[in-house]
C-alpha cells in the first residue's frame, strides 16, 4: 500500500536560502556604486558642520584636501587641540605651502589655476586654526577654497 505512505517524521523542511546571495549582492552593488575608496586614513575627528547654501564640488581630481580637527581616540598622544592633517599625517601650519606645491606639481600645468582647496574641518575646531590655514593659502596664492559641509539644516 505504498500509495498511502506516511510522510517522514515531523521534520521541518530546510528554509530555502537560494535568494540570500542575491540580496547580499544587491547590497554589495549599492555600496560599490555609492562609495569611493578611502584616500586618507583620518587620524582626526571629522564631523563636518551643516549648511544649506552649498555648491557641489565636481572634478574630484582638481581638489586638494586639508583636514583639521581634534586627534581621534587612537591618537590621543597628539593632544586634544585641533590639528591639521595632510596626506595621512599630522602637519604644522608651515607645512601647508610645501603640500600645495607638491599637489600642484603632480597635476598638469594647465590645470593648476583651477585647483580648489577643500577644507574639511571638524565643527568643534576653532577659527584661529582656520585663519592660520587661510593666511598660509593666501601666501602660496591658492585662493579658491571650499568649506566642505554636510548638506542639511544649520543647527544652532
Amino acid at each position: 500500500m505504498s500509495k498511502f505512505k506516511k510522510k517522514k517524521g515531523g521534520d521541518i523542511p530546510a528554509v530555502n536560502t537560494a535568494s540570500l546571495p542575491d540580496i547580499v549582492f544587491m547590497l554589495l552593488f549599492f555600496f560599490m556604486v555609492a562609495t569611493v575608496m578611502r584616500q586618507n586614513t583620518l587620524m582626526i575627528e571629522n564631523n563636518l558642520p551643516f549648511a544649506d547654501q552649498v555648491e557641489k564640488l565636481d572634478k574630484k581630481d582638481l581638489v586638494m584636501y586639508i583636514y583639521a580637527g581634534k586627534p581621534s581616540e587612537n591618537y590621543k598622544q597628539f593632544g586634544t587641540e585641533a590639528r591639521i592633517q595632510l596626506n595621512d599625517k599630522f602637519a604644522g601650519v608651515n607645512e601647508i605651502a610645501a603640500f600645495i606645491a607638491a599637489e600642484r606639481a603632480s597635476k598638469r600645468e594647465e590645470l593648476v589655476p583651477f585647483l580648489t582647496t577643500a577644507l574639511k574641518v571638524d565643527s568643534k575646531a576653532n577659527m584661529g586654526l582656520i585663519g592660520d590655514i587661510k593666511q598660509e593659502l593666501r601666501k602660496v596664492n591658492a585662493l579658491k577654497i571650499n568649506y566642505t559641509t554636510k548638506k542639511g539644516k544649520v543647527v544652532n
Binding site: K60, K144, I145
Partner: protein, 197 residues
Amino acid sequence: MAKRAAPEVNAGSMADIAFLLLIFFLVTTTIETDSGINRKLPPMEESEEDVIIKEKNIFTVIINKHDQLLVEDEVMELKDLRAAAIEFLDNGGDGSCSYCNGSKDPKSSDNPDKAIISLANDRETSYESYISVQNELVAAYNVLRDKRSQALHGKPFSELEANYNDVNWPGNKELLKKQIDQIKVDYPQKLSEVIQK
C-alpha cells in the same frame, strides 16, 4: 531513455562569498561629502591701499568667542541674520538702484554694488558657528539673486546656473551666460573678512 535530472549545484556558499566582498567594501570605502561653500580668498597684496568706504555701506558682523553675534553694533540671533542682511543689501538708499525693494533708508547702504558685508571673528570662535554665519550671508545674496532672476526671466537664479552647467541643456548658452552675469552685476557678492590679529 528516461531523462536524468541534472544534479543541483550547491550554492550555499555563494552568500558567504558575497558577504565577504560586501564587508570588504564596507570597510575600505567611504561615502564622500563633496559639497560645500565656495569662497575666494583675497590675494596677498604688497601695496596697502586704503579704500575709503562710507560707514553706512558696511554691514559688520562680528562673532565673538562665545559664538554670539554682533551685527551693526547690536546683538542678534542667527535666525534673524539672513533677513537683516537682505534688508541691508536691498536698501537702495541713494535711489540709483531701480530694482531694489528696500526701504530706501538713507542711513543704510546706497545700492547693492556699494554694499559690503564685513565678517570678523575671534580666534576662539567655533568653526561650526562661523560656517552657519557664512551660510546665512551667502543665503541672503542667493535670495536676492533669485528674486531678481524671477523678475527678469521668470526662473530662479539657481535654475539658470544649473542650466548653464548642464551639458545637455538645449537652449542658448551665450544668452544664458549674459543673463547670469547681469544678475551677478546687479547683486555682486561683496563679502570681506577681517583678518584676525
